[in-house]
Amino acid sequence: MKSGEHKEIVMIKDLSVMIAGKAGDGVLFTGNVLARLLKRQGWEVATYRDFPSNIRGEATCYTIRASLGKAYGLSDQVDILMAFDCDAILTHVPHIASSGIVFCDGEGKSNLPPGASRGKTFHTIPLRSMAREQFGQEIFKNMLALGALSCVLDLDFGLLDQIISEMFLKKKGEEVVRKNIQAAAAGCKKAREITSEKERHHLRKKKDRNRLLLSGDEAIAFGALAGGCRFFAAYPICPASEISQWLVHYISRFNGVVVQTEDEISALNMALGAAFAGARAMTATSGPGASLMMEAFSLAGMAEIPVVVAHVQRLGPATGIPTKTQQGDILQWIYGSHGEFPRIVLSPGTLGECFDLTARAFNLAEVYQVPVIVLTELDMGQNFRTAERFDFESIEINRGKLLSQDDLLRIDNFKRYELTPDGISPRSLPSFKNGVHLAESLEHDEKGYRDEERSTRVRMMEKRMRKLKKASPDLISPHLWGDRKAKVGFVSCGSTLGAVLEAMDELKRRKVSSKFLQLRTLWPFPGAAVRRFLSGCKEVFVVENNFSGELATLIKSQVNPCTQLRNVLNYSTRAFTPGEIVSPVLKVCR
């Protein structure tokens, strides 16, 4: 809602609505319905959850960003705040646009510091009491709020009713659907009473081109399923649990299984057992679980077992803040664990990439017989965004040098760890005749049996380490965004993508042209592409959600000599907003 003064004639193109309250208020539910409603009106949507790490009682808020153009994540301002709790207003007022509207259940405005409310419109709306009096239960406050928002945003009530019935008809029956539809209408009526005509927005509606609205965790889970994952073992952890919780609904239809293990040590070891026996196997976790998996990660490297690990980063160290996003574990998988072994680390920046890269991760794992990490962040994993439909046609299954029973019967002397020119050896599966071997965590000979001979060790080490030497055509290359000729360059990976792209647009408006190299494979490091990009820049900003600039450190370790890299860092509890990237650039480039 960038153009506040002429609301009555200007159609809104970009919008940020925040739902705030206490944990347990149904903030997530309300926001998700609004997100789906906006999506069905043809808008691009990105949600952002800012939740405490508990179930009830603490302040929580959920922002729904919507745009007719692209919506990637947080914007710098909130246009409408719907607060179930007036304390929330105090926290969020500084972020509310000067033309913004605040709805609050209860008395709130009186506590505001002087000047804080300048230009903003405040309305109290008795959601709870209306819910109790008219519908008998406080829980209807969420639908009342949605009705009120739909009124001021001029949203289509037919669509809202349709969403309500999709949600409740099967599970709760007609009566619940009817009551919720009535509650939405009552909320709208109330909003019409308390707001003036000029506070109502006119959204330009587009046809919903059958796009998707989903979270990164869901996209990863779906990518896994499409990519042939049939064994998934994990221990619940925020913000990765949704991957297994989604898969468990669908995997059995594909003759697969999800196992909840006793811990993350078990999860990765179990996936390795399954992969050894022939499944495309995967686990998912976050930082603390990743630390527990490091030993088995090394085993995957040594025994050359293909496995995929999705790591949804959260704020650390230690237990940190489990519900906040961060990119503090980038180097954990690249340099992590004991000993040296090849590994692949992928970093999706969009939902489409969450799906594609995860599906492809299984091919990479099996072709190169290495562990593959899909590294993402809470911001991507748990927030919902709109995405184009996924393309199943492009998925090909390549199981690499996995031999069949027939292949093995034609071979004389099967060697699981055969020294080959490309370092990749044939695999057999338990139960196959002629393929008996040992998957060995000790240094071993070509058959898999322990061997401590100096020459064996040297040859085996070189064999493993050369597997990825020629992998680059199969790896996902960096994506170059923006003006190729620009002298200002950004380098980043993962869910910072949206904020960087929006910052680039803003910089363009301010006559600063820029380009952006989005790394999608972090390891093996795409050295040639990064070198080429850096050599075409005068100023380079590496944008990352951590304290020490892990991505910049990685680049400097791989590009030598390296141009000066400027860190744009954010290790706070919130993802980047575009403005936080624009201002450090302007400081340098003005």
């Binding site: 869901e218 499409a226 006793e262 811990d263 070891n269 399954a274 022939g278 996924f390 008996v436 060995e440």
Partner: protein, 286 residues
């Protein structure tokens, strides 16, 4: 019935007199009796002297990390339930570093034979105290005597919901082979703890010592492995160590409960994307 030599890959190089020889022999006999194809068996081992078994026993093998046999074996069994999955651990592997996994494998009742080779010492690392070392025993890590009270694996297993709990002695190969055989026929998780002297690092718990301290439960009048109270009683014997099949119970195995189709192993799925099904799932995101 196969010849037991079918499973003999090479001669073991354990210390002469090691209890593991008896286990190796008993396992070969049990496999032969069951007519087990070497390629249908997978032996998953941990870290310790027992871990060399993979080099000697002809079968598919997975020699993983210290203490992690249970999750690896579970992953294998669920991926291909037609395999005979045999996990082997030492007392350190099973009851110390891998204790958490042990309890959960029991709880899940996964169809694995778990052989725990209990020599009451850390042998591969030269003789430190283990979780089954007797209280007060002098080892290289406890020169003033161990101050830890030992754990009892079969007792833990009974408490954790184990459905087949047995204890054998590597000095008595024939009954041990019979236990292994019976354990492999059991549906669900089968624990066979084997009292197995370490002739190099444990001079206390020798063959002779074990012979004096064990009693077979089937020598107890009226003993039934179906009777949990009797099993507790046998395990809590103040002086003697119960051997034989201590407890047995019929419960569904984890693989029977969680796999969509046990006759169609996950290992051999056709992974070609089923586009129609995927399209249908995608509708949920509309």
């Amino acid at each position: 019935m196969k010849a037991k030599d079918a499973y003999h890959r090479i001669d073991p190089t354990w210390c002469r007199g090691c209890g593991l020889f008896g286990i190796f022999e008993a396992l070969k006999r049990a496999a032969a009796t069951l007519d087990l194809e070497p390629e249908k068996a997978v032996i998953v081992t941990g870290i310790g002297c027992h871990g060399r078994l993979n080099n000697y026993f002809r079968a598919y093998g997975f020699h993983g990390l210290h203490g992690r046999t249970m999750p690896v074996a579970t992953g294998i069994k669920l991926t291909n339930p037609k395999l005979q999955v045999i996990a082997v651990s030492g007392d350190g592997d099973a009851y110390s570093i891998g204790l958490g996994h042990f309890v959960h494998a029991l709880r899940k009742n996964v169809g694995i034979l778990y052989i725990v080779v209990n020599n009451r010492i850390y042998a591969l690392t030269q003789g430190q105290t283990s979780p089954t070392t007797s209280f007060g025993m002098v080892t290289i890590s406890t020169p003033f005597g161990s101050k830890d009270f030992p754990v009892d694996g079969p007792m833990l297993a009974l408490a954790a919901g184990g459905t087949f709990i047995a204890r054998g002695f590597s000095g008595e190969v024939a009954p041990l082979a019979a236990l292994f055989e019976r354990a492999m026929r059991h549906r669900g998780f089968a624990l066979v703890e084997v009292l197995s002297p370490c002739v190099t690092h444990n001079k206390v718990n020798s063959y002779e010592w074990f012979r004096q301290h064990i009693f077979p439960v089937d020598s107890v009048p009226g003993y039934s492995p179906k009777d949990k109270n009797k099993a507790w009683e046998a395990l809590e014997h103040p002086e003697k160590i119960a051997t034989g099949l201590i407890y047995e119970e019929d419960k569904p195995a984890f693989e029977d409960l969680v796999l969509p189709d046990k006759d169609k192993p996950i290992a051999f799925n056709d992974l070609t994307p089923d586009r129609a099904s995927l399209e249908k799932i995608m509708e949920k995101f509309g």
